[in-house]
Structures are given as structure tokens and as C-alpha cells.
């Protein structure tokens, strides 16, 4: 660790200063690829929300949401530095490779977390800020510190953290959240297990070395493959809902159906190819396509709603508003603060 002396680390014997990490190392702590997905999904949440907001406020809010998501990634890297060092995929991250000190990452993550929540509260509203704070807490504490090393359902429950941005986006615009963003939440939530388990199938030795109870290590590859197919079969129809509910148009319907079928096809290929190189290739193909899939769904929603290019489906007029149970549950959730307080 060159010139890395940690003032908060007792082993450094009080001579601590700071590391010589560069700006790009700090940027890497924010998990930029995850941040880009958060930007697209939060923007889609704003675009599909019933209402409008000043473009500067939207941009400022988006920046705060992206930085908040990055901050939670930074706190995750700080907490997981010990296991990151043991896995080939993560050993080159800034902390395990010695470019950034753990204490620097912690300070950076906490500062950005608090700053992003405060800015979102000032720029947008308290509900959006509260949801961003909860998202950071959920990812950094509930997922990273608790679920990840404890249960094979870690990424199922933890997936909620990645699914919140569209809801925050809608809260920025309306000061509330409704069915649109709940459906977008469900899409990301159901997408997370097939996405991560495809990677976990290939990297199970890494996870075993680090002692993380991923599903392939605990329940075995066969059970994981069945779960991947099951989640894909539920996720693909849910991903079509925006078109049926009127906030996705014809283009969204076509894209969601075609890419959904491709996701199911790739998941089935993972199920049947269980040995050697073909199995590895099938898992990588599903992992890679799943990223494209989510990007495409939300990018199309963004283009249709944000740029006013939506060609609405006639079917919306027959299916719209036909969800009394979900609406009722939402009303109950909204009324909870009044009931409790």
C-alpha cells in the first residue's frame, strides 16, 4: 500500500495521513455502471409520473439521486473490502488494491449520503429525500452489513434497494407515489435475482472463498437454475404491464414482449446447459443480456413519455383502472402515518 497511512487505523501508529488515490479512484467507489442504471430508471420514474417538474429541478434531483446511489455503493465497498480482496471480480477495487484507505471511503460515502439527501430535500421534497435516505440505508446496512453474508436470499431482498429509484423519481415530480412507479419497482425487483444468480453460477468459487452464501453455493446450481427460470417467467409478463396500464405505448409493448421472451429463452438455456463451457457461456449470456434488457425497457419508457413519442395502446382504455386491490393496498399504505400517529 504505497503512502497509505490511515489516521483512523490504530495499526498505522498515529502517523496516518491520506492515500494518494486519484479522483478516478474515488469515482470508481461510486460504482458508475450501477449509477448509470439508477439514472435511467429514476428518469423513467419522473417521465412516467402524472405531472411535470421544471427541467432544472429534474436535473438537480437526478444528480442527487445518482450521487446518493453512488454513496451507498461507496459504503458497500468500504464494508465489503475484506471479502472483495478474496474475489477475482472485485480484488482490483480501490480499497482492496490499496489505492484508497477504508477511512477515506467511509468519510466519502457518508458525506455524499448526507449531502445528496439534504440536496434532494431542498431541491425536490421531503418524501423524495426520505426515500433516498431509506434506499441508502437499505443498501448499505440492510443488504451489505446484514443480508449479504447471512442468507442466500440476500440479493432477492436487497434487490429492493436497486428498485427504489423510479419511485424516488415519481416522488420528485408528484410529492407522492402511485401505481406507475410501483410497477417499475416490481420490474427491477423481479429482474434482480435472474441477473445476479446468472453471475453467481459462474463465480460460485469466488463466493465460496469469500464465505458469501449465494444461492448456487447453498442450494446448488440446479436449484439456482430453476429459480432463475421461475423469476424470469414472472418478470417478463410484469414488464409488459406499463403498456397495459397506459404509460407505455406500442413501442414499449413490442420491446417488452420481444426482449421478455428472449430473457425467458436465455434462462431456459441456462437451465438445460449445466456442464462445462456451454453452461458458463449460457450464464454469461443471460447476465449480459439482462443488463441490456433493463436498460431497453426503461429507455423506451423514457423516450415515449419524456419526448412525447408515445403511441398509446387502445387496450389501455379497457384495462386502465382495473386494479382495485392494488389501489386499495396503496391507499392503506398512504393512510398508515395518520393511523399510527
Amino acid at each position: 500500500m504505497s503512502a497509505a497511512f490511515d489516521r483512523l487505523d490504530p495499526r498505522s501508529d498515529g502517523v496516518a495521513l491520506t492515500s494518494s488515490g486519484e479522483a478516478r479512484d474515488f469515482f470508481e467507489l461510486l460504482k458508475p455502471r450501477v449509477m448509470s442504471l439508477v439514472i435511467v430508471t429514476a428518469l423513467a420514474g419522473m417521465a412516467t409520473a402524472p405531472g411535470s417538474v421544471h427541467p432544472v429541478i429534474a436535473l438537480a434531483s437526478l444528480l442527487a439521486i445518482a450521487v446518493g446511489a453512488g454513496a451507498s455503493g461507496c459504503l458497500n465497498m468500504w464494508y465489503d473490502a475484506d471479502i472483495d480482496a478474496l474475489m477475482s471480480r472485485t480484488a482490483k477495487r480501490p480499497i482492496p488494491s490499496g489505492r484508497i484507505l477504508p477511512s477515506e471511503a467511509l468519510a466519502f460515502g457518508l458525506t455524499l449520503s448526507i449531502g445528496s439527501v439534504l440536496v434532494l430535500g431542498l431541491v425536490a421534497n421531503l418524501l423524495a429525500a426520505g426515500m433516498l435516505a431509506f434506499t441508502i440505508f437499505f443498501y448499505a446496512v440492510v443488504y451489505s452489513m446484514w443480508l449479504k453474508r447471512w442468507t442466500p436470499q440476500n440479493i432477492v431482498i436487497g434487490g429492493a434497494a436497486g428498485a427504489f429509484p423510479p419511485m424516488i423519481g415519481e416522488a420528485v415530480v408528484t410529492g407522492d407515489f402511485g401505481m406507475h412507479s410501483l410497477v417499475l419497482f416490481a420490474i427491477i425487483f423481479l429482474w434482480t435475482p435472474p441477473h445476479f444468480w446468472a453471475l453467481a453460477l459462474v463465480k460460485s468459487a469466488d463466493y465460496a472463498r469469500a464465505g458469501i452464501p449465494m444461492l448456487p453455493n447453498v442450494a446448488g446450481p440446479a436449484a439456482t437454475r430453476r429459480q432463475i427460470v421461475a423469476y424470469s417467467l414472472v418478470m417478463a409478463p410484469v414488464a409488459v404491464l406499463p403498456a397495459l396500464m397506459g404509460f407505455g405505448g406500442w413501442l414499449y409493448l413490442v420491446v417488452s414482449v420481444v426482449t421478455g421472451l428472449m430473457m425467458i429463452g436465455l434462462a431456459l438455456r441456462v437451465l438445460v446447459r449445466t456442464e462445462g463451457e456451454p453452461a458458463k457461456k449460457a450464464a454469461y449470456a443471460l447476465f449480459g443480456f439482462s443488463i441490456l434488457y433493463l436498460f431497453l425497457l426503461f429507455a423506451v419508457l423514457l423516450v415515449e413519455n419524456g419526448l412525447g413519442l408515445k403511441w398509446p395502446l387502445p387496450v389501455y382504455y379497457t384495462l386502465g383502472g382495473s386494479m382495485p386491490l392494488a389501489e386499495g393496498a396503496l391507499e392503506l399504505f398512504r393512510a398508515l402515518p395518520k393511523v399510527l400517529g
Binding site: A3, F5, G14, V15, G21, E22, A23, H54, V123
Partner: protein, 56 residues
Amino acid sequence: MSGNPQRPTPPAFSPEDMARRRRRSIALALVLGALVVFFFVVTLVKTGPAIMNRPL
């Protein structure tokens, strides 16, 4: 001024480390400058046309 005998002297940074730290400082200054512009623009937008409604 003599240093604390209990506290070892920190090792000197190499020229390469110093260059990296300088680049980091410049990046930080740019981010802070951008933040100033960010808050200025957001304040203008939040205040709206009423920004001129004050005694001069």
C-alpha cells in the same frame, strides 16, 4: 520545534504521489466550483420570477 518522540515522522511522499495528490486537489476544487454554480442556478429556479420582488 522538536516533534513528539512518541510519534514517528510520517514518511515523505514521492514526487509521483505528490503529483497524484495535486491532481486530486484540482478535481476537488472543480467539484466545489460546480457545486457553487449548481446551488446558484437551483436557487434562481426555486425562487422563480419573484427573485426581483424585493426592495433594492
